[in-house]
Amino acid sequence: MTEHDKQFDNVEPHVSPRFRKDLRVLCEPPGAVPQQVDKTITDLAKACLRERKHGTPRRLIVPMRWAAVAAAAVIVLGATLYTTVTHDTPHSAFRIPQSIAPGRADIDSNGRVDILDALRLARHIESRGQAQMQWDFNGDGLVDRKDVDAVAFAAVRLDKGV
């Protein structure tokens, strides 16, 4: 430590009591807080903290609801994706006519329904022969190409066997 520094070490003894008092007045907060007010504020703060610790704050209720909605949405989306991805069903350009009772579509009466029944019916319609209403397979009051299609589809149905 140099001589020059030493001069700052004993500053206190040189401060006069009056100057010290004035400094204290300047640094003190303006007007002292009454003890009761101080206690009330402390109690309120403590109560607030206690409620935060044990109670259910309102701020958390909203995220909980949203979380439930989000979970439901995810489940629905997942189920939809699962069914579409893993159980993809083929799409067909055909609109299959409603199924026909096997006996009805057996136009040539050979005991089974095949494409020759459809051919015979088609030829019958083209030749403008007298159509039997029992061949109106789609029930539209007409015996036409739609009924031929119905017979053909009955012939190729997978669940009927060969």
Partner: protein, 167 residues
């Protein structure tokens, strides 16, 4: 923090449960080799004009899925034939077509092409069954049915075939 973790778990569990089977399927698909190949079906009715046919195709061995059907080479059977749409993505199909016109094919003609998805390396074996073939009067005509695999529509010795005729 605890609640956030709980919510995350609630959301993550069903998602994982739902996505796990799909992921397994996807990985299986990746593992399994998939290729596409057409099967050309030919019918030979000899000297008699062919007005109608019906046959059934199924896989005798191997894993196949039918993905599409198209008509034949002759104008009489150019349009897509009749088939049950339930056969798509299946390994069995019944195909039929007829024509009431006068321009009908004779001899050997390609009546249909079936597009297949083949799973795995093994070459599938097909069972082709002729249900019926008929002339323009709707009477049965004797006919021979056979198939060829691959892009090449000419004769192929690699195709394996089991042929039968329903009487």
């Amino acid at each position: 923090m605890k609640r956030v973790l709980t919510f995350s778990l609630i959301i993550a569990c069903p998602v994982l449960l739902l996505l796990a089977p799909a992921a397994t399927h996807a990985s299986k698909r990746i593992e399994q080799k998939v290729r596409f190949a057409p099967v050309h079906v030919y019918l030979d009715s000899g000297s008699k004009p062919l007005a109608a046919y019906q046959f059934e195709l199924k896989a005798a061995s191997g894993q196949i899925k039918i993905v599409g059907v198209e008509g034949g080479e002759h104008p009489a059977f150019k349009e897509a034939p009749y088939y049950d749409p339930a056969a798509l993505m299946n390994d069995r199909i019944i195909i039929a077509a007829f024509n009431t016109g006068d321009n009908l094919p004779t001899g050997r003609t390609r009546v249909a092409t079936i597009h297949l998805q083949i799973l795995g390396d093994a070459e599938p074996e097909y069972q082709l069954t002729l249900v019926t073939a008929g002339d323009s009067n709707g009477d049965r005509v004797p006919a021979e049915l056979n198939l060829q695999t691959g892009e090449n529509k000419c004769e192929s010795s690699s195709s394996r075939l089991s042929l039968s005729y329903c009487s």
